[in-house]
Structures are given as structure tokens and as C-alpha cells.
């Protein structure tokens, strides 16, 4: 069924991103906006806007009933959930199916299977993918005996978590009982599911993920992205391809991701996340993100594909119009997340008003911005203001262009992560390529020169200070 009118059930830059593709394809757009977003750039740009509810996400962007009513009230034939919010909600996928609407995403059954991190892990094992030693634990005794296989340190992870939420690092066996108790309580409160599992902790490790595009039968990979520049498990800068990865390792990861997609009979866009053990040149399955991702533009910049357009095409029930041979890679791309956070004050979130916003422009530069001069940055949602995506024929050309683009990028009114990005792209370790997931914390550590820290042994700084106070 062709999509003629699409409800975009999201906000900020990803809402504008989806509107842009729809305009190009001639699809009429309806934006579902909370009361805090009725004046947003996305609301001004959409063909029409439907009031979704009050600012608090629980009554608007996180309400399956509100999104469904918005779709029906506006006569949309399909719902695009973007990322975050209800993008991985089997309940929304089911509700759309019952109402005869297309949900732009995988099936509810796939969302259930992949949202349960143990089921996802089991699927990966069944498809022949390497996983880290570990497994579900229901008691301290079980956990202690599992330590023989995982070793220390070990990560306690929530089965209902993912995306860096609900993880706790245990370095000594003596901390295990207490960590389990806390993790179960937190997982229960945050995800409504108290189950936890253990996985070996790898340092130094790199976070490398493979983009999949599938129609339920055929599965393509659209290359990998390196997302190792993270703070408290939150990605800050991503690039494609992953720098300095041995070619055989890269190709094995692509093949492994495709194998998992085939095993699942996956449909839509999805990302298979891997942890690369830098010391052993080996990789392990982490999880699958069954949706479009924040960092998708680095893939688009190196393949010249419009992933949202392909996602909509498959959501119409049509078979993929691309073969693996049609996916050609060219150049290097880097994305910087410009967040309304103050790097000088421990990344304190900084809602407020953007009094002025001036973007860099030119060849190889793309900015996906959810705000504009005069925009309010509400406190209710995440802090992402814009994504600067820069590409060039190779990595060093992309970095040179990125440095210039960051110098021309100014946001007034709220502090942002732009100054931090300027510092990162000037750092010799980053310029050399292939930093691990602990690198950014070492750069940010008080007194750290940042540049000349050895990349091993990787002090698991990011993990020690991990935020666990997430709320479902």
C-alpha cells in the first residue's frame, strides 16, 4: 500500500529529516506535536500538525493511544516513529496493524524479540554470531559460578534495557551481590522487568555497528559506523567507515550482521551493534536497534542513499529495490552531535532559548538541525539540537573540513557541545583514528592532557561513573 499521507510521531531534527524526504517523494506530512513543540521548525514545515498532548512525554510522544488517535484524526495511512520514544514499541506496531495503518519499522514480533536483550542474544547465537561469555542470572550463587566464564570485570545488564541504559560494572567479586541487588531493583523500576544478565567486560573496546536494510526476505548491509566516542554510554561523535579496522574483520562483521538479519527474517532498517576487542582483533554481538538511528547520516554521506526513503519503500510492503551490489561506498564521513549541554559543567543539560544559530555550509557539509534562531529548547526531551555531518574523499580530508565547519558553527543562548568537538577533532589520538570507548572519559578526566594518554590499559572511567538513574 503506497503511503500518501504520513504521520511523523517525533520531534526535533529527526522529524525535520523525515519531512524532508517526504517532500522530495511527494508524500503529504502530518506532524504529531506536543504542546511544547507547536511552534517548532518541524511544526512550521509540516503540511499539517495534530496536537498530540501536553509537553510531558508520557502524555504525548510516549502515549500509544495519543499517537494512534493523531494518525486517525489526520487521515494518515502510515506512522513513522523516528528514534527513541515509541520507535521500538510493539504496542504501537500492534495498534497500527489493528487500525490498518503501516508502522514504519519492523514487525511487533521482531520488536518484542529484539527488545528482550536475552532473546536477541539467543537469536545471535542461533545465527552463528559470536557473543561475549555471559548469560542470565537469577541468584547470587548463579552469578558467582558464571564468573568462571566471564572473568572480571563483568557488566550486569538489564534484559529490558539497551542503548547503554541499565548497566553496571563490577570489578571485584565482593561487589557482585550488592550490584545484582541494585541492578534488579533499578531494572524493575526503569523497564518493568527485573531480569538481568552478565556479560564479560572488554577493555579496550570499540563500538562498531552495521547498518542493515531488509524486506523480510532479502537483507543488505549498508556498511559500518564507529561510535566509540562516548560519554556514559552516550554517543557524541560517529563516523563511517570505522578507521583502521582490519579489512577481514570489517567484512566478517558485515557478513555476521546480514546472517542475523536473514535468521530473523528482518524487515526495515536495523542496526547490529558489535563490540570490537581491540587487543584480540575480534568482535562480539551486543544488540540490535530496530529503527532509524541518530547517526544514520554518516552512512548516507558515504553511500549517497536516502535511508528514510528506502525505509518508507519497504514499509509499503514492497521488496527492496537495491541489491548489495548497488550499495557503493565512497569517502569518509563524521557526525558531531551538538547537544544543549555544558561541557564545562559536567555536561549539565541546558534548556533555554536559542537566541541565534548560525550553521556552517558548503561542499561536504550537512547540518540536520531541530532548532533555529529563536527556538525554545524544552526541558522535557533529550538535548540534541543539531547534527553536523561532514564528508570528504578520505578521513583526513573529512577531519580538515570538520575543523573548519565547527569554527563556523555558532549557537547563542544555550551552551552546547561545539567547543568540546573542536577540542576532540584537534586531538592527536582522534586524528590518528581508532580510539576506544574509554577514550573520551580519559580526555575529560580532570588534569588529563587528553592527547598523550596511552589507549591501554583502558581505565573504565565511563563505566565507573555510569548513570543508572534512568526512568522508563
Amino acid at each position: 500500500m503506497r503511503i500518501r499521507r504520513l504521520l511523523v510521531a517525533n520531534r526535533g531534527e529527526i522529524a525535520l529529516r523525515i519531512l524532508g524526504t517526504c517532500e522530495r517523494l511527494g508524500i503529504e506530512t502530518v506532524l504529531a506535536a506536543s504542546d511544547a513543540d507547536l511552534d517548532s521548525p518541524a511544526a512550521r514545515r509540516a503540511d499539517s500538525v495534530v496536537r498530540l498532548g501536553p509537553a510531558l512525554p508520557a502524555h504525548s510522544y510516549l502515549s500509544v493511544g495519543a499517537v494512534l488517535r493523531a494518525a486517525l484524526a489526520s487521515g494518515a495511512g502510515a506512522v513513522h516513529p523516528g528514534y527513541g520514544f515509541l520507535s521500538e514499541s510493539p504496542a504501537l506496531a500492534d495498534a497500527c496493524a489493528s487500525a490498518g495503518l503501516s508502522f514504519v519499522g519492523p514487525s511487533a514480533e521482531h520488536l518484542r524479540a529484539l527488545g528482550d536483550k536475552l532473546r536477541a542474544r539467543a537469536a545471535a547465537v542461533a545465527a552463528g554470531l559470536p557473543v561475549l561469555p555471559g548469560g542470565e542470572v537469577t541468584s547470587v550463587a548463579e552469578a558467582e559460578s558464571l564468573l568462571d566464564r566471564t572473568g572480571l570485570p563483568v557488566l550486569v545488564k538489564a534484559v529490558g534495557g539497551g542503548g547503554g541504559r541499565g548497566m553496571r560494572l563490577v570489578e571485584h567479586a565482593g561487589e557482585l551481590a550488592r550490584a545484582l541487588e541494585l541492578s534488579v531493583a533499578e531494572a524493575h523500576a526503569a523497564f518493568g522487568d527485573g531480569r538481568v544478565y552478565l556479560e564479560r567486560y572488554v577493555a579496550p573496546g570499540r563500538h562498531v555497528e552495521v547498518q542493515l536494510l531488509a524486506d523480510g526476505e532479502r537483507v543488505l548491509h549498508v556498511g559500518e559506523r564507529d561510535c566509540s566516542v562516548q560519554r556514559r554510554y552516550q554517543k557524541l561523535l560517529e563516523e563511517a567507515p570505522a578507521a583502521g579496522l582490519p579489512e577481514t574483520l570489517r567484512l566478517s562483521m558485515h557478513a555476521a550482521a546480514v546472517r542475523l538479519g536473514r535468521h530473523l527474517g528482518y524487515r526495515g532498517l536495523g542496526t547490529v551493534e558489535f563490540l570490537v576487542d581491540v587487543g584480540r582483533e575480534d568482535f562480539f554481538f551486543l544488540e540490535v536497534n530496530p529503527r532509524i538511528q541518530v547517526e544514520h547520516p554518516v552512512t548516507e554521506a558515504t553511500t549517497h542513499l536516502d535511508l528514510v526513503a528506502e525505509q518508507l519503500y519497504v514499509a509499503e510492503g514492497r521488496p527492496l529495490r537495491l541489491g548489495q551490489g548497488d550499495v557503493a561506498f565512497d569517502g569518509h564521513a563524521i557526525e558531531c552531535r551538538v547537544n544543549a549541554e555544558d561541557p564545562e559543567r559536567d555536561f549539565a543539560p541546558s534548556p533555554g532559548t536559542v537566541t541565534s544559530m548560525r550553521l556552517p555550509a558548503g561542499e561536504g557539509i550537512r547540518v540536520d538541525a531541530g532548532a533555529q534562531s529563536g527556538s525554545t529548547v524544552p526541558p522535557y526531551y533529550d538535548s540534541l539540537l543539531a547534527k553536523l555531518v561532514v564528508s570528504g574523499p578520505d578521513r583526513s580530508a573529512a577531519i580538515a573540513r570538520l575543523a573548519g565547519a565547527l569554527d563556523r558553527f555558532t549557537v547563542d543562548g544555550v551552551p552546547t557541545t561545539i567547543p568540546l568537538h573542536r577540542r576532540l577533532v584537534a586531538d592527536p589520538a582522534f586524528r590518528a583514528g581508532g580510539v576506544d570507548t574509554g577514550w573520551l572519559s580519559r580526555v575529560l578526566a580532570p588534569g588529563a592532557g587528553g592527547a598523550h594518554q596511552p589507549s591501554f590499559p583502558g581505565a573504565p572511567g565511563a563505566l565507573e561513573e555510569a548513570e543508572v538513574s534512568t526512568r522508563g
Binding site: V30, D35, R44, V50, H59, L359, A361, R408
Partner: protein
């Protein structure tokens, strides 16, 4: 219509071959300003016009319409002159966010009315942009009452709760 990023790239290519340093394009739908800067171009874009609201709405039954960021109990001369507030210590929101009185849903609150607190006692958390920020009492005293109810939004500087301080604090700002 809106300009696509590709359109802007094409305009820049044309501009590059000229001596112009600035282009300002304004319609009733958008503003685009391109300026030559050291090292390259800068762009300012602004979507104009009002959102075109669909008549029907999806708002949940029973959920009140609310003004986001509404300052509900913020400083005013009238409030400070209120005799009931004389000598009281206001615990204010250090940043805008949603107030939670307990560390997790279903757990007991950090403090109840009548509890004695120290200056560094955590009395609530404010969720701002998905981050949980502890709010400390700021003065030793006894919790008198909450000005914002649980899971409601508060603006920056709003009074969250009132304390009867152990030591009088005249001139509390």
C-alpha cells in the same frame, strides 16, 4: 516550498563564482541567509509561518492542557511579602524540569512534610532532558510544604518546597 540542502549547495556554487559575500532570501515560508566567513560559508535558516493545525486532536481524555514552562510559584514581591512565607526558606529549581519526590516510582519519597533536613539533604530530583538532577535543601530546617506536586514540571527558579529553617534567614532571595 522549502529549499532542500541540495538547493542550498547549488546556490553556494553559484555564489562562489561571484564577488557577493551575502545572500538573503525571504519568502512567507522561510528565511535563508548565506554569508561568506573565514574558511567557508555560513547559513542561517528559519522556518516561518504558523503550524497548520488539524481540527481533531489526539489529546488523552482527562489530561489537562498545560502551559509548558509556566512559572507557577516564582519570585514575586507579593509572594515574599506573604506573612506566611516570612522567615521561610524556599528551595528553588536550579534548572527547569519535572519534579520527582522519590528516587524511583513506587519508592518512599526523599522527604515528607515535617521531616528535618540538613543543607545537603536531597529533597527531590528534577528530570531535565532525561537526566536526573538531585535537589538539595540548601539550609537546615523542617519541611513545611511542597509547592510543586510529584511528576509536575517546574520552571527555573520556581519554588519547589518551603522549609522552616533552624536559624532565621531574613532576606531570603
Amino acid at each position: 516550498m522549502n529549499l532542500s540542502p541540495e538547493d542550498v549547495q547549488d546556490i553556494l556554487k553559484v555564489l562562489d563564482s561571484t564577488d557577493y559575500d551575502e545572500l538573503h532570501l525571504e519568502t512567507d515560508r522561510f528565511v535563508l541567509r548565506l554569508r561568506r566567513a573565514p574558511g567557508g560559508w555560513t547559513e542561517e535558516r528559519e522556518a516561518l509561518g504558523e503550524a497548520r493545525l488539524v481540527p481533531g486532536q489526539a489529546v488523552e481524555e482527562g489530561v489537562p492542557a498545560e502551559e509548558p514552562n509556566r512559572a507557577r510559584d516564582s519570585t514575586s514581591a507579593g509572594e515574599d511579602a506573604d506573612p506566611q512565607r516570612q522567615g521561610m526558606h524556599a528551595v528553588r529549581a536550579p534548572l527547569p524540569g519535572v519534579l520527582y519526590r522519590a528516587p524511583k516510582p513506587g519508592e518512599p519519597p526523599f522527604v515528607e512534610v515535617g521531616d528535618h533536613v540538613e543543607a545537603d539533604t536531597v529533597v527531590a530530583i528534577l528530570e531535565t532532558m532525561k537526566l536526573m538532577n538531585p535537589v538539595r535543601a540548601g539550609a537546615a530546617g523542617t519541611v513545611s510544604h511542597f509547592a510543586v506536586t510529584n511528576s509536575e514540571p517546574a520552571g527555573q527558579g520556581d519554588v519547589l518546597l518551603w522549609l522552616l529553617p533552624d536559624a532565621p534567614t531574613p532576606g531570603e532571595p
